[in-house]
């Protein structure tokens, strides 16, 4: 055996565990999802090819459209909230001063917590009779005494958004900070020489220079938000009246509770196509940036 042949075989053997993991637990379910979405899956017996019937069923399912609409609504409301917190804090963390590393680790800390813990922590703050958040709102007479935040869709959405913003702004903050740190000091000196005020410098110099980081955060936030499940599963369970049921929650319910595997797979495939478009945008932007 030639040395290079041996090298090739060892090379393949070394990557084999990683390839097998991805092949079995991702690529196979991925292909199966396509297959399932074109078949009828009875509880007993064999699968039957039904063409696009499952997709048509999904198309006619009102809850699918409601869930898709709600998932979009969540995405377009939570993303600006994340940025509203992440951009100023990233700018603040970019200032070199005593303690800045410590402040940064505190801001990043909620990212480390699990969805479940973060959700329960906030549910306690939102508790209608003993929650300290509600206590604060009542103290300033913003809400009435018996106000329950979970009774309406919009207030539930806002409550979850605040929780998610608190938990996730750290990721955007760190990505933006990495962008900010790559800006050369020359830009700031030039801007100072030209007599620009601090706000002008941020708006006209800093933000355009970290455009790539901003776009990256934007896409990460959109792609992540479209897959939202846990926060609503834990905090609202889809209530009131299924109005806060997200797309993934609906996919799981249809598949595992009602055992309609075909339509569920069809919805999964639809979600995947939406997400593939978003992530391929992300990759193309990153590739452009690397050139």
């Amino acid at each position: 055996m030639r040395r290079s042949d041996k090298e090739q075989i060892i090379g393949y053997l070394l990557i084999l565990p990683a390839v097998l993991l991805v092949l079995i637990f991702l690529v196979y379910p991925f292909l199966n999802s396509f297959y399932m979405s074109f078949h009828k899956w009875p509880v007993f017996g064999d699968a039957k090819f039904v063409g696009f019937k499952n997709y048509i069923k999904v198309w006619k399912d009102d809850q699918f459209w409601n869930s898709l609409y709600f998932t979009f609504l969540y995405t377009i409301t939570v993303t600006p909230m994340l940025f509203a917190l992440a951009i100023p804090i990233a700018l603040l963390c970019n200032i070199k001063a005593k303690g800045s590393t410590l402040f940064r680790s505190v801001y990043f800390f909620p990212v480390v917590l699990s969805f479940a813990v973060s959700a329960y922590v906030w549910m306690w703050l939102y508790n209608e009779s003993n929650g300290v958040f509600m206590y604060g709102l009542r103290y300033f007479s913003i809400v009435s005494d018996d106000y329950n935040i979970w009774l309406e869709r919009n207030s539930s959405l806002l409550a979850v958004n605040i929780q998610i913003t608190w938990k996730f702004f750290g990721i955007s903050m760190i990505i933006l900070l990495a962008g900010l740190q790559s800006i050369s000091d020359d830009y700031y000196e030039a801007s100072k020489l030209m007599g620009a005020s601090r706000m002008q410098t941020i708006w006209n110099v800093t933000l355009p220079l970290i455009k790539t980081s901003i776009v990256l955060c934007l896409i990460l936030s959109i792609a992540g938000s479209m897959q939202v499940y846990e926060p609503f599963l834990i905090m609202t369970q889809g209530s009131p009246a299924n109005s806060t049921k997200t797309l993934v929650m609906h996919i799981v319910d249809v598949g595992l509770d009602y055992y309609k595997l075909g339509p569920s797979a069809a919805m999964g495939t639809t979600l995947m196509i939406i997400l593939l478009i978003i992530t391929s945008l992300q990759l193309s932007i990153l590739r452009k940036d690397n050139k």
Partner: protein, 299 residues
């Protein structure tokens, strides 16, 4: 920034207020778990516990969450309301997390090593193939994964979670370890080969000690992914003595009555769940940051 200028005060004022706001929910959870029941549910909020009690901790560590009522119609959702113990849940999460860390480290070290030092056909294609978990969101594949696990007899096992968590770690792991190995001069490995040691020995004794930052980044992220997973543990684990910690929290939360949450127990359970993370974070936080930005943030 000059000391004691107005900017100086503004900087610390802003940062300290933000720190208080960001940490408040955590502080509140910890003190809530230490308050006595009357203080916890009193209308008058107290901002520190007037009398400290550990009764919630004792309760969640010793008792099950709820007895199963056999007469009820038990569905997937109801199954979660049955008995369990947070100590067992902690152990379960611990086993799965350690398993994920070990498997992820093996998979990404071997892979990163191959991609740096070996030449083989279609190398670039394999590399892109291993980045697929970023591109394909596995949450949209929940149902086919459920069926796969059922066919493999892996439902309700640690192994299923370890495999799934490690699969999602593949892109970051391979990427981090390839970077770590490529920063080592190639000549170092060649000298070791000339001295007659075999590949495996070189990897373990010469190269791996030089990739510690990469290994720590993979470890920290594997821990993060596995310890914090809720959805896979929720959907794929059903027996009571196999419950993971995060799902156990849902147990405590819903307790006997879905609409009446046991907040004392729940805040205590949350503290038990995030303490290992705080410890991990305190020592290894720069590796969390590295994992997200690929090492771009300076200290």
């Amino acid at each position: 920034m000059k000391r004691f200028s107005s900017d100086y005060y503004l900087y610390y004022l802003l940062n300290i207020s933000l720190v208080i706001i960001i940490l408040f929910p955590i502080y509140w959870t910890i003190i809530s778990s230490l308050k006595t029941p009357p203080e916890l549910i009193s209308k008058q909020q107290t901002f520190y516990p007037h009398t400290i009690t550990f009764e919630y901790y004792e309760r969640i560590l010793t008792y099950g969450f709820k007895e199963v009522d056999e007469s009820e119609n038990v569905t997937l959702e109801d199954g979660l309301l049955s008995a369990g113990n947070i100590f067992i849940a902690f152990k379960n999460s611990f086993i799965v997390t350690i398993g994920t860390i070990i498997l992820s480290l093996i998979v990404s070290t071997l892979g990163g090593y191959a991609f740096t030092f070996y030449k083989f056909k279609f190398k670039e294609y394999f590399f892109v193939f291993l980045l697929l978990p970023i591109l394909i969101p596995s949450i949209s594949l929940i149902i086919p994964i459920y069926i796969l696990l059922k066919n493999l007899n892996l439902l309700d096992t640690y192994t299923a979670l370890i495999f799934l968590h490690s699969m999602s770690m593949v892109p970051l792991g391979i990427f981090m370890m390839r970077n770590a190995f490529s920063s080592i001069p190639k000549s170092l490995r060649e000298v070791a080969i000339l001295e007659g040691s075999n590949d495996f020995k070189i990897l373990l004794t010469v190269l791996m000690p030089l990739t510690i930052p990469g290994i720590l980044t993979v470890t920290v992220f594997a821990m993060y992914v596995s310890w914090n997973d809720f959805i896979l543990a929720f959907l794929f684990i059903s027996s009571e003595d196999m419950k993971m910690l995060n799902v156990a929290l849902k147990h405590i939360a819903t307790g006997a009555n879905q609409w009446e949450m046991k907040w004392g127990d729940l805040t205590a359970g949350s503290v038990v769940s995030f303490i290992p993370l705080i410890i991990f974070y305190a020592f290894l936080q720069q590796y969390f940051v590295r994992g997200i930005t690929g090492g771009a943030v300076k200290e």
